[in-house]
């Protein structure tokens, strides 16, 4: 200890009033947003025209430009969407509704089977892998496991798509198979997708 005094008080007598931590992070930690009020999170407002069976144009992501069919809004706020898979390669997928351009065209809502209602956000949760130790990871055979698409999901896709495909005529199928692109003379702000 420091054998000194200041204003008649020994350093050894001084008690530190500040709480000490054993570890301080180098950068500021980001905390997730926490509501101060007890107000509940509101459900996502339904967009006008976004009804089951409506054709939407995907605006960003892997499937940008694809025309897909909207099935339903999931409780997480994401939109459940399907190609159908056989028509344009878009599977049952969740999408951010902000990135869906809603069009006026709608497939018969009766074609959207109640199977779609059984799909939840949990359907899309990633399967948890057992935690591997560092050494195991190093020696793991990287070529060993081929990722197999679960057959139950394939079946589900089929169940939902089959009634839709029955209703679609060849022109509609071609329409859904074609990607949306801007061409010469097309002004995005003047294009009509829905007359609201």
């Amino acid at each position: 200890g420091i054998n000194a005094e200041y204003m008649g008080i020994q350093f050894s007598q001084i008690r530190i009033m500040v709480k000490k931590f054993k570890w301080y992070p180098a950068e500021d930690e980001k905390k997730p947003f926490q509501r101060k009020s007890k107000a509940k999170k509101k459900p996502v407002a339904t967009r006008k025209g976004l009804n089951p069976g409506v054709v939407c144009i995907v605006l960003s992501g892997r499937f940008r430009g694809k025309r897909v069919l909207f099935l339903r809004m999931l409780p997480s706020g994401l939109a459940l969407v399907t190609g159908p898979y056989k028509v344009n390669g878009v599977p049952l997928r969740r999408m951010n509704p902000a990135y869906l351009l809603v069009t006026k065209t709608q497939v018969k809502p009766e074609a959207i089977s109640k199977e779609a209602d059984t799909i939840d956000d949990k359907y899309f949760a990633k399967a948890k892998e057992a935690k591997k130790k560092e050494e195991e990871k190093l020696f793991a055979d990287t070529a060993a496991k081929a990722k197999v698409f679960p057959p139950e999901k394939k079946e589900k896709q089929g169940k939902i798509d089959q009634p839709i495909l029955a209703v679609l005529d060849p022109l509609m199928k071609k329409y859904l198979a074609t990607r949306f692109t801007l061409r010469n003379g097309m002004k995005p702000h003047e294009l009509v997708f829905q007359l609201l």
Binding site: V55, T105, D169, Y175, E190, L191, V192
Partner: protein
Amino acid sequence: MCIRDRYQRRVHGINKLQELMGFKRFVQAGRVAYINYGVDHGKVCVIVEVINSTRVLVDGPTLGVPRQVISLRRLALTDHLLKVAKGIHTKSLEAIIKKEDLVKKIGESSWAKKLAAQKRRAELNDFERFQVMMLKRQKAYLVNKDVAQASSKKSKKPAKKPKSGSQPQKFHHITL
């Protein structure tokens, strides 16, 4: 006006002069015109009186155009001409428009049809645009097929007329 024009005017009258001038649509009382700019954009009106070289008095009783002074720059003259005295009152003009069935006549003109087509094209939604694209492709295919046929048989037979009656395949609409 040159001497020759003045002679033509004196001998044959104003219509001959106008014919010589090459202009056919004149700014005159009774001239039907489209309004190209402003609040009444797209509407049809009748020129009632000429004020000066830039402005006219215009009226469109059943056509939705209030009686007003408008710049000639905002007007596009049509072929239609009503037999009307200059300075005609709105009520009398309304009667003449009804009698002549102006609305119907204008609707039948190719100008009006083009405008209607433009408007429809602007209102097409995404699926309709796709349908139009498909139909254009089909039409082009049919036309090119006949052209190719005609050109290949040029040397042996006289050129065939392209089939104008062939209809593109009709698709059924998805209904709501």
